[in-house]
């Protein structure tokens, strides 16, 4: 019989192949991923214009910036270890990598949604209270869901008072045209498209909860600790693009125009999305946001929502299960299990021009 020997040979080979992918501490090649969203288009520009390459070269490393078409998949890939960093919101950073035990650091706080996410009901002059008893289509367990929950709190309603229907973001606009759909919660550019439908009311949006839906560049904490140059290069590239795109100059306009094109809209469309996004163009603004006591309070609220919806995993006994650390030594949750770190030190370097 030859099979048993073949079996053990194959098994040994597999075991070796699988155990090879142990993480290397010091390295020169990095890759980060991003997905299309108004506040993340600067990464596209930074790559296309060679700005990331320029900064990476300055620190003698390589950084590959990869665009992923599916947002959740990009975070999953990052969590699985395929990327050293990825763009994501504060809530997803907590519930996917951090709850999955991947110690992550919010390297760059890019912006917060200031109207980019909203709740829309069919019919004129509706209010939040009209949501009672309605089906609401949204991407379940996403920031939309969080926004809706925060809105319902204001109207003294709870999720039990309505029916949440999970709907893919790719089909949201088409779904809104059907009679079954009475109300949706979604983000831009879909929100703009849906609001443009006649006879609808936007009853709530993220400008009513400013600073709670935050868009970040999240990197693996261990990789960052062993390779501070990786963090410096990324931060440097980001704030160079920020300076260019916020300038009221022909170069600034050209930068915004190229980002608009890459996100599938025109300059006017992109600028209206930017108007609903509070970009931190200057590093010192972002540092101030990271230093404010509001951030830990917001993250505790997000952790509470996540725990109530089972997003922290079944092992989690309370909303405190995943620890988070902030500037000035502040931390929340389980201090022995800190998995999400808001570290403004790299943004501080950018603010001090020391990169």
């Amino acid at each position: 019989m030859r099979t048993p020997r073949l079996f053990s040979l194959l098994a040994a080979g597999l075991a070796v192949a699988i155990s090879i992918n142990a993480p290397a501490a010091q390295k020169d090649n990095f890759s980060v991923c991003w997905t299309i969203y108004a506040g993340w288009m600067p990464w596209e520009y930074a790559k296309a214009q060679g700005i990331v390459d320029k900064w990476a070269k300055k620190y003698d490393i390589n950084i590959d910036v990869v665009q992923i078409n599916d947002y959740v998949e990009s975070i999953n890939q990052y969590t699985a270890g395929q990327f050293d960093g990825c763009t994501m919101t504060n809530m997803d950073a907590l519930t996917i990598p951090a709850a999955g035990g991947v110690d992550s650091t919010a390297l760059v706080i890019g912006d917060f949604s200031n109207g980019n996410d909203g709740v829309v009901i069919k019919g004129a002059n509706k209010t939040l209270a009209d949501l009672k008893g309605m089906p609401v289509n949204l991407v379940e367990l996403s920031v939309s869901h969080y926004l809706l929950a925060r809105g319902l709190e204001r109207a003294d309603l709870s999720e039990k008072d309505l029916k949440v229907v999970n709907t893919s973001d790719a089909d949201m606009v088409a779904a809104f045209q059907t009679d079954d759909v009475k109300a949706v919660t979604t983000w831009n550019p879909l929100l703009a498209e849906i609001e443009a439908t006649p006879n609808v009311t936007k009853v709530f949006d993220s400008s009513k909860i400013p600073g709670e839906i935050i868009d970040l560049m999240v990197v693996n904490s261990d990789t960052l600790k062993d390779n501070p140059n990786f963090g410096k290069a990324l931060t440097g590239a980001w704030y160079e693009v920020m300076a260019t795109m916020s300038a009221d100059s022909p170069e600034g306009k050209a930068a915004r125009e190229s980002m608009a094109k890459a996100s599938g809209t025109d300059l006017a469309g992109y600028e209206s999305q930017l108007a609903a996004t509070k970009m931190f163009y200057s590093a010192s603004d972002a540092v101030a946001f990271a230093n404010s006591p509001k951030l830990p309070a917001t993250m505790s609220k997000v952790a509470e929502f996540s725990f109530n919806h089972g997003l922290l995993g079944e092992g989690a006994q309370s909303a405190e299960a995943v620890g988070m650390s902030f500037a000035k030594g502040v931390s929340t949750g389980d201090k022995s299990n800190i998995k999400l770190r808001f570290d403004p030190s790299y943004m501080q370097m950018a603010a001090d021009n020391s990169l």
Partner: protein, 271 residues
């Protein structure tokens, strides 16, 4: 002895059948143990214990919010949609295939149409389906129906054409009119073939079901998988995938048994 003439004995055969499955399982659990040793909270490749806990939670514990047993509720709604989709598709496909395969006057308008329709990828025209059928249960069943009916109809049309002309002529000399001919000669010939065709499109039917549930839904096996993917709960996804595979395999087996019991002559005719 030449390789082509070497046959495994009984024990060897069983071993060879199990080997690829064992290798897959082994590779999975080695990978899982490795990742978990590095990071005890890793979600990508859950261990057997974690999966058992997830199944226990979903299948044998009441859900805190709705008070339902999610696993069985998901299974029930998915099977209902799948059953309705397959049933409607089988009926429509049989009628269309029989008409196009037997009656030349209907074959002219139907045949090219079915060929063209079967080439349209249903997932690419989803927005149109939403507007026509809405977002409720109907659209999920219709996605399955639209996806597999043309394939069934085309297959049955071909089989109807393969019925020996002698049989049709003989029936006519015995006085059968078109209606009798279709009911007594063509239909019995096509029924076992329909079951075989259904077995072949089961895979596509599941695909369309899961796609439909991923788009807009409040329950179902596909819904749950796409929902928990949001936080990478592979401890739920892996058992669900195994369950779907098992259900699909059982359905395939069931259809084969029905074909064997109801149409024993069909297997015999082939041999």
């Amino acid at each position: 002895m030449r390789l082509i003439n070497r046959h495994p004995d009984r024990a060897g055969r069983l071993m060879l059948v199990l080997l690829p499955f064992a290798l897959l399982l082994f590779a999975y659990f080695v990978g899982s143990a490795n990742r978990l040793a590095e990071n005890a909270n890793d979600k990508l490749l859950p261990s057997a214990t974690q999966m058992v806990a997830a199944v226990d939670r979903l299948a044998f514990t009441e859900d805190k919010r709705s008070g339902n047993y999610l696993f069985w509720q998901d299974t029930l709604s998915s099977l209902k949609r799948l059953g309705m989709g397959l049933g409607i598709a089988a009926l429509v496909g049989l009628c269309l295939g029989m008409a196009a395969g037997t009656l030349p006057l209907l074959s002219a308008p139907l045949s090219p149409l079915l060929t063209v329709l079967s080439m349209v990828p249903p997932l690419a025209i989803l927005p149109i389906l939403f507007i026509v059928f809405g977002l409720g249960e109907l659209s999920k069943v219709m996605l399955i129906v639209i996806g597999i009916t043309p394939v069934l109809a085309r297959d049955l049309e071909q089989r109807a054409r393969e019925i020996p002309t002698e049989l049709l002529i003989k029936a006519q000399t015995l006085g059968a009119n078109t209606w009798t001919l279709m009911l007594r000669v063509v239909l019995p010939h096509l029924l076992p073939r329909l079951l075989i065709a259904l077995r072949l499109v089961l895979g596509s039917a599941w695909l369309f079901l899961i796609a439909a549930e991923a788009i807009a839904s409040t329950d179902g096996l596909g819904y749950r998988i796409f929902l928990v993917r949001r936080y990478l709960a592979m401890d739920v996804i892996v058992p669900y995938v195994i369950w779907i595979t098992l259900l699909a395999w059982l359905m395939d087996l069931g259809l084969r048994q029905v074909a064997r019991l109801a149409f024993p002559w069909y297997e015999g005719a082939k041999a």
